[in-house]
Amino acid sequence: MSELKPMSDNTPSSPERRRFVGAATATAAGLTIAPGVMLYEVAHGRSEDQPASSAVRWGMLVDATKCATGCDDCVTACSTENGWTPVAESKHPKQAPQWIRKLELQDPLTQMETNLPMMCQHCAEPPCVDVCPTGASFKRADGIVLVNRHTCIGCRYCMMACPYKARSLVHEPLNDTQKPDVPRGIGCVESCTLCVQKVDRGDGNTACAEACTAAGHNALLFGDMNDPESEISRRLRELPTKQVRADLNLNLGVRYHGI
């Protein structure tokens, strides 16, 4: 769990060395330069002028056994962070954008209930990217699937292609209610961005996962799936996890335990 490994464990391979350097930087960054002021930029190794790297693959582990009935803190946190109106408050709930939704499932035979959040699964082979006629739907180098709103024409092919119903179209003008960090607007498709603004800032966590931890459920874990030392990789190694619609062979960035 600890990021710093003993030196004796250090193999000569370069990824190991990179991880050690990364851990050292993270430790240095943890030092406060003034009370309440942290060196955020170096906290996760990528400075703001560096492009997202394919050495990283951001992903999320959802532990459905810990996801609580009736709790939708992750949904609320997402709407607060990204500035979309919660469905309950929307004038048109049927067409309101949903970046993440809470599902409560019941097995009809055994009556067993399962809770889980469903959102963009950040596929390695995303069908939404395949079908987009303008190239607006794209996968960033670090595995985050996004919509470039500058080229999105709102045709909604991606919404039809997505097996997870993860995408929404913004039907109404937003009238300057957007967050400065999260531009979004009428006529464009949108979905979970794995809080890309937070990732680029170096927060290393998403709003939903933060809220889940704050609520004490710890059902959501965000991290780098390419880094064998990361908490998410460790848990993925230990826990039996599933990909939703694994038959589609999309290699998802969001994995579920306990479904």
């Binding site: 492009p51 709103r149 500058h150 967050k179 400065p180 680029d200 800032r201």
Partner: protein
């Protein structure tokens, strides 16, 4: 007769035109010039004013592609930083009112901006973080409440004595 009628018509039209001309506003030199207010924050722009007036859209376009596609979020040429500096003191926005920085020029040049269909026109962060606001803006009401309570406490003491 026909000639007379035609002449009359011509005379009437000329008179009408002349009347309309005299009634119109005195002609100024072109359309009203845009009101370009100095940025509230910062001493100078990331490039010279002349360069920015002609090329701001090019640098913004380039930067937006780098940011969206690659995740490069440098501050120079970032629209967010433009807004942070140029938001007006009155509205706290670059495009809410006619005199606001982006709108005043763009309405003069008759070029529609659709940046703000998606982008917020207001500076980032809480209002307290914006230089427009004094450092204690976000808890001014608390200070005021404290001040009030102090006065009332003294008054109360006076009443008690």
């Amino acid at each position: 007769m026909k000639r007379l009628l035609a002449l009359g018509a011509v005379v009437l039209t000329t008179a009408a035109l002349a009347w309309a001309g005299s009634d119109a506003q005195p002609k100024s030199s072109g359309a009203p010039k845009p009101a370009i207010t100095k940025a509230v924050k910062g001493e100078r722009c990331v490039e010279d004013n002349d360069y920015m007036r002609r090329n701001h859209m090019k640098v913004l376009d380039h930067h937006r592609d780098e940011t969206v596609l690659e995740g490069i979020r440098t501050k120079k040429y970032s629209l967010k930083e433009c807004i942070n500096c140029h938001a007006s003191e009155k509205t706290g926005s670059v495009a809410a009112a006619k005199e606001d920085f982006c709108v005043s020029c763009h309405s003069y040049a008759a070029v529609k901006i659709d940046c703000f269909d998606c982008h917020s026109t207001k500076p980032q962060g809480s209002i307290a973080m914006h230089p427009l606001n004094a450092e204690n803006t976000h808890y001014k009401h608390k200070l005021a409440a404290q001040a009030n309570s102090k006065v009332s406490a003294e008054e109360m003491a006076g009443v008690a004595q």
